[in-house]
């Protein structure tokens, strides 16, 4: 395993070190399923509300969702970069990076200023993420994903490793299921993470708060067609038409209507049930 860098020698922007409090890294696929994205965002938001510093990697997909979730909840989040502190990668996250700094969080990098995004930088960055955090939660990961490097590093550094389960049909959850089988703690909600950190007492003591499970019951069932849609595996209009014995033109129209209402979203050639994200709830 790569050894973590000297954490006192990191280049930083924003508020560093961050305010006191447990730090949790939320990591996952750069191309998550809508489920994974929604989980990352909600988990980050719930943890941030409980005073956790959310650490992630500023990458596309789960990372960005985690940063956004923390920011939506008014929390502090830290982005560990695989580039120089002055190079935002991907460039599409320029605004996100500014928001992280403005929100009292920080950008940190172990690489010299001006360092470009190189393939070999990212595994090292993943190790740093583990070193900076008290626990690592893997939201979604295919086999061989960089998020698993972070998890492995966390194990070596004796940090808590946790994983979010998903559908057994989803390749995005193969990595997380393997982690759970190997002993990682199973995460269903923010409370599970807080409990593992030993910081969840006050939350657990509130018997009136219904435990909100991640990824379930988020979508209101307003249309029969929604019952036949999954939030992980996309279904094409043709398959639905066959299943419901309706003309494909009609099914396509109804799906479009649901898409307009935000209940359904396109995914490649098919459709998925949309999960409401933190932004919409806030």
């Amino acid at each position: 395993m790569m050894s973590p860098p000297d954490l006192s020698a990191l280049n930083t922007r924003g508020t560093w070190p961050p305010p006191a409090g447990p730090r949790v890294a939320i990591v996952g696929s750069r191309r998550p399923s809508p489920y994974g994205e929604a989980v990352a965002e909600q988990l980050a938001a719930d943890l941030a509300r409980a005073g956790v510093i959310v650490v992630s990697g500023l990458a596309l997909g789960c990372d960005a969702a985690a940063h956004r979730g923390a920011l939506t909840a008014g929390g502090v989040t830290v982005a560990v970069m695989g580039t120089g502190i002055d190079i935002i990668y991907p460039a599409a996250h320029l605004r996100l990076a500014e928001e992280i700094v403005a929100g009292g969080g920080a950008l940190v990098s172990q690489f010299p200023k001006g360092a470009l995004p190189r393939r070999q930088n990212f595994p090292a960055r993943n190790v740093t993420m583990a070193a900076l955090s008290d626990a690592v939660v893997v939201v979604e990961a295919i086999q061989g994903s960089g998020a698993l490097i972070t998890a492995e590093a966390a194990l070596d550094l004796h940090k808590e490793v946790m994983a979010v389960p998903g559908s057994i049909f989803s390749p995005q959850s193969v990595g997380t299921h393997n982690l759970i089988r190997d002993g990682a703690a199973l995460v269903q909600n923010a409370r599970d993470v807080l409990a593992a950190l030993g910081a969840g007492g006050e939350v657990l003591d509130d018997p009136l708060a219904a435990p909100q499970r991640l990824g379930f019951g988020l979508s209101r069932e307003r249309d029969g067609i929604l019952l036949h849609l999954s939030d992980v595996l996309s279904v094409s209009a043709a398959e639905l038409a066959r299943k419901l014995d309706l003309p494909v033109a009609e099914v396509l129209g109804r799906l479009t209507s649901l898409e307009l209402d935000g209940a359904v979203r396109r995914h490649g050639p098919g459709f998925l049930r949309a999960l409401r994200t933190g932004k919409e709830r806030a």
Binding site: A237, V248, A249, G253, P269
Partner: protein
């Protein structure tokens, strides 16, 4: 003596009349060819001299001048060989040229008459200009004989032509080929009945064919995009006489007509490779531009597989013909306009490796690469493609269990009925409706307008995209035989906008 003979040169799909004047008089024996002849016409001097000698005729032993009038027009092509030779032969004999008679053909050195391109175009224009008799190469006679009211004389040898003109031996005219005008609808090469599953793409093809809309199919390799595209000509139904005529004229210019069967009723299907050049796709060449693939696909289907692999400037050049159904190309020799009213069916992989969104295989492309790939398709061209659908790959093992769909003949009936409705109502297909006409013939109820506007706002549609979705909704209603566009028609139309992304 002076002899004058009529002929023509082609300028795109038009023919300009040319008078060939031959004058032999006193002076040192010599052969001058004047009248702005291009290289291919200047070379006629040598062919004509040999052809006349080898036909047993006398070449004037005098000062010979051949003028091609009007002199300010540049003349290209080998079709003037025959009229020049006839003019010289007549001048030597001392006869004026025949009235209201034109000649076109290339000569071999032995006097045999060879094929030239564009005889059908020449015949049509000459007939309009008052020519009554047309001498053409025998191999091209069936083309010319498609023109009603024109006597077509099929010629195989210069000697035979001169003998005919002198009244020594007459060549029987080519009969006006009514028989080939007879309509024949051959068996389809690709039938939708053989396509398993793919209901969404099948429906999109039907809508595209019914309204004249352009279509983009997105899906992994082996999903059947090419097969689906190849089915489009079949559901469009055969060409009508006017369309077949236009198709034949473009083919005639390119020398592409089948000998003896100049009219073909099947819809053109052109599938140029993605390496195609600008000149190859749009049309081009030196001097005057020749038609490209888009004009060969006129009244039929232009299939562009691997759309993202085409050179960007080539795709950009498609914008004018996609909007207007015509292409105007200007080269050093002048400007020509060719018809290019085709249905574009394009296909693309969702990402460079092709497997993004596939259920069985995992895509190996990084998000940045996928983004760059899809951005190559976006923008002005995509904005002009009304229907965009995803095509799923069905694993081979499951293919047989997927239900077969309707046969092309059944779909064609609905498509033709919808096309007739449009033509009766507005004189053109829905895809060609100008925004003003669209507002007149495709009124939207407040509810369906609201749906369209909501989508437009959510996805940041351009005004062009807005109108295109509206036209598709009109077509969906026409397929149903409905006068009023309902909400369901608008929603279906929006369902075909795969590449609209949230603003």
């Amino acid at each position: 003596m002076l002899a004058t003979v009529h002929s023509c040169v082609l300028v795109g799909l038009e023919a300009r009349r040319v008078e060939v004047q031959a004058d032999s008089g006193n002076g040192k024996p010599n052969f001058h060819l004047v009248g702005l002849a291009a290289t291919s016409v200047k070379e006629a001097r040598e062919r004509v001299r040999s052809a006349i000698k080898n036909s047993g005729l006398d070449f004037p032993r005098a000062r010979l001048t051949v003028n091609l009038a009007p002199a300010e027009m540049r003349k290209q092509g080998s079709g003037l060989d025959l009229p020049i030779a006839v003019a010289i032969a007549l001048a030597e004999i001392g006869k004026p040229g025949p009235a209201r008679t034109a000649f076109l053909g290339e000569l071999a050195l032995d006097g045999a008459i060879r094929h030239v391109d564009g005889v059908l175009v020449a015949a049509r224009c000459l007939r309009k200009a008052g020519i009554e008799r047309f001498f053409v190469p025998a191999v091209d006679a069936s083309e010319a004989a498609l023109i009603d009211g024109l006597e077509v004389i099929p010629c195989t040898h210069l000697k035979q032509v001169v003998a005919h003109l002198l009244g020594e031996d007459s060549i029987p005219p080519q009969p006006f080929t009514k028989a080939i005008l007879e309509f024949s609808n051959g068996a389809l090469e690709h039938d939708l009945g053989e396509v398993h599953g793919q209901e969404e793409a099948r429906r999109a093809i039907e809508v595209a064919a019914a309204g004249g809309h352009h279509l983009l199919l997105t899906g992994p390799p082996g999903a059947g995009k090419t097969m689906l595209a190849a089915c489009v000509p079949g559901i469009l139904g055969p060409l009508d006489l006017g369309e077949a005529f236009e198709v034949a004229q473009v083919r005639s210019l390119l020398g592409d007509l089948l000998p003896g069967r100049p009219l073909d009723w099947t819809r053109p299907f052109r599938a140029p490779h993605h390496g195609v050049s600008m000149a190859g796709l749009i049309g081009g060449g030196t001097g005057l531009a020749l038609p490209g693939e888009i004009s060969r696909a006129n009244h039929g289907v232009l299939f562009l597989d691997e759309l993202a692999e085409f050179q960007a400037p080539v795709l950009q050049a498609l914008r004018q013909p996609l909007e207007t159904g015509r292409i105007t190309i200007t080269r050093s020799g002048g400007s020509v306009t060719y018809p290019a009213r085709f249905t574009l069916v394009a296909a693309t992989n969702p990402c460079p490796c092709g497997w993004l969104g596939d259920s069985a295989r995992t895509c190996r492309c990084t998000p940045a690469v996928v983004d760059a790939y899809q951005r190559r398709l976006s923008g002005p061209l995509l904005d002009r493609i009304d229907l965009q659908v995803g095509v799923r790959r069905v694993p081979l093992a499951e293919l047989a269990s997927e239900p077969r769909g309707e046969a092309s003949a059944t779909v064609q009936e609905r498509v033709l009925a919808a096309r007739t409705r449009q033509l009766d109502r507005q004189g053109c297909l829905n895809a060609q409706l100008k925004p003003r006409r669209l507002r007149e013939v495709a009124r939207l109820e407040p509810g369906s307008r609201h749906t369209l506007e909501r989508w437009s706002e959510q996805k940041g549609l351009t005004a062009r995209g807005f109108h295109r979705a509206w036209r598709v909704a009109r077509t969906a209603a026409d397929l149903e035989g409905a006068e009023v566009i309902g909400d369901r028609h608008v929603l279906e139309a929006l369902g075909y906008r795969l590449h609209d992304v949230a603003a």
